[in-house]
């Protein structure tokens, strides 16, 4: 069923040499590669039935509309939404979160209120709340990350009170890999009347997601990290909440009626989709969801737990390495941040690139977390369905070369 060699046939891009060495792609945390079926689904649209959606009374437009709305239903089912009307297409997780900060936040958060987020949030789930706080006089409070990289739930219990309007928390850290207990967080937040936004950018591509089981109010994620194209993201929101929210962007498609005096909004989800949407990208995302469904998200998660365990084993033997985040592979995802002696992560990435290995180096859009760790940057290897143990072996070899070169 889940066979990496078979899967890799769907990703011919991986079968290349870089700097004369076979490519090892370990940057899926930043963005995943795309299976042929996704690229083909988009090509097919452009080559055989492309047209603008929704309003066209002719075959191409009707077919494109059906494909676009069909993709929405696939995504809705993938996260187990109650209704496809709860799925809004955006550009990326970042826009999804900003949509909530503008359309919900500006109308529901006041001076004195608290927005609770964790110290390990990606800038996408931090800066919008800092901005909202600056504009409204609310404050952002940070749930600490403990020494092992876990969300400090005892601290959360102390911090959650009825001044909290929103708890915005990542489901999986893109640096530490930590999986957070979003179900528990949601229950406790709801108990004090706060809403819960989950940043699923790292989690949704890698493990089963059930918005009804978690009972979260908003879930944001990006297509490009889950085998889908760039230019498409998702905001899930509970219907009752979305219904009450004013629109965010305004213009065509999101209105029911416009006069010179004002406008009336369209039904959900279109109220939040102004202008020509990312039609073909949504169709591509639909094909990505199909692909993941064929593999099975439980299998995807299992594969990554195995790879992560192997990575901890092998990387742990490299002298001078320091790995961040929980060591228990079942409590984390396959994004593994590390440093090697005093070699700057940028230098490490360059050395690895010259060995054909693609990793990421920097602050991974989590500067405050790095500040807390006392670092400016880390190196990060991240895994997905097409990675194999031998990719990790190649990484380890290259790290050994780096140690030699920098004499550590």
């Amino acid at each position: 069923m889940f066979d990496v060699d078979t899967i890799r046939q769907d990703f011919p891009i991986l079968n290349q040499k870089v700097n004369g060495k076979p490519l090892v792609y370990l940057d899926s945390g930043a963005s995943s590669q795309k299976p042929s079926s996704v690229v083909q689904a988009m090509d097919e649209c452009y080559r055989t039935y492309y047209a603008n959606v929704h309003r066209g009374i002719y075959q191409f437009s009707e077919k494109a509309s059906a494909a676009y709305e069909g993709a929405r239903k696939k995504v809705a089912r993938f996260i187990n939404a109650k209704s496809w009307r709860e799925v809004i297409f955006t550009r990326n997780a970042t826009e999804s979160i900003n949509l909530v900060a503008y359309a919900w936040g500006r109308h529901n958060v006041k001076a004195g209120d608290t927005i609770l987020i964790t110290e390990m949030e990606h800038h996408a789930n931090m800066v919008p709340w800092q901005q909202l706080a600056a504009e409204t006089g609310a404050r952002v409070a940070y749930i600490p990350v403990d020494g092992r990289g876990y969300c400090d739930m005892a601290a959360f219990d102390r911090m959650i009170n009825d001044s909290v309007r929103l708890v915005a928390v990542t489901q999986m850290s893109n640096v530490l890999g930590t999986v957070t207990p979003v179900g528990e967080i949601a229950a406790k937040a709801h108990a004090v009347g706060a809403l819960v936004l989950v940043d699923g950018a790292q989690a949704v591509p890698h493990m089963p997601t059930d918005v009804q089981a978690f009972d979260v109010d908003f879930l944001a994620f990006s297509g490009h990290k889950m085998l889908g194209p760039t230019g498409i993201g998702v905001l899930y929101g509970k219907r009752e909440i979305l219904q009450e929210m004013p629109p965010f962007l305004t213009g065509g498609d999101m209105i029911r009626q416009v006069t010179f005096e004002g406008a009336e909004w369209n039904d959900l989800p279109w109220k939040f989709e102004a202008g020509t949407p990312a039609i073909v990208e949504a169709i591509g995302l639909g094909a990505a969801v199909d692909y993941l469904n064929r593999l099975g998200m439980h299998q995807v998660r299992k594969h990554e737990i195995e790879l992560t365990a192997y990575a901890f084993d092998q990387l742990g033997q490299v002298e001078g390495i320091r790995i961040y985040g929980p060591p228990d592979p079942t409590a984390r995802g396959g994004a593994v941040a590390f440093t090697l002696g005093d070699i700057h992560p940028h230098d490490l990435a360059t050395i690895l690139d010259r060995e054909g290995i693609a990793i990421r180096a920097g602050h991974h859009c989590a500067m405050p977390l790095h500040q807390k760790l006392g670092l400016t940057a880390t190196a990060r290897a991240s895994f997905y369905i097409y990675n194999r143990p031998s990719d990790i072996d190649r990484l380890v070899e290259a790290l050994d070369k780096a140690r030699e070169l920098f004499s550590i």
Binding site: R55, G56, E62, N266
Partner: protein
């Protein structure tokens, strides 16, 4: 030409049944097709026995929305409110007797939406999309 605009449809479009307004409706509601701005209004009169004894539709629109509204009024006239509530998308499509694409479906079902959304008090009934998954 093909048979999309059947005799039947053009006849109801050119000679709409029950067009106009009621003086003393017991129920009245109108809805807009946001696609094109077409509006349909339906007035009902339900008598003491719970039977729809008078019905009128009003509005401007395309042949499909006008013909289906005209047909709809014929279908509910003389029914009880409860019987009329059973009316489904399929009943309308059967009356029209054509295969219809998803966009024009909104035209075909606009009058049913007026009934469901307004008169039966189902404000979120959107015509066709909801159960379709």
């Amino acid at each position: 030409m093909d048979d999309f605009y059947r005799e039947n449809i053009l006849d109801h479009y050119r000679n709409p049944r029950n067009k106009g307004r009621l003086e003393n409706p017991t129920h009245t509601h109108e809805e807009l097709n946001p696609l094109c701005g077409d509006v349909i209004r339906i007035d009902l009169h339900v008598n003491d026995e719970g039977v729809i004894d008078q019905v009128r539709f009003d509005g401007k629109g395309c042949a499909i929305s006008q013909a289906s509204a005209s047909m709809l009024t014929e279908m509910i006239q003389g029914k009880t409110l409860d019987e009329a509530k059973q009316l489904s998308k399929e009943d309308i499509l059967e009356a029209l007797g054509i295969e219809i694409g998803p966009v024009r479906l909104k035209c075909a079902l606009l009058s049913l939406k007026v009934l469901k959304a307004g008169i039966y008090g189902l404000p979120n009934w959107t015509g066709e999309d909801e159960d379709d998954w």
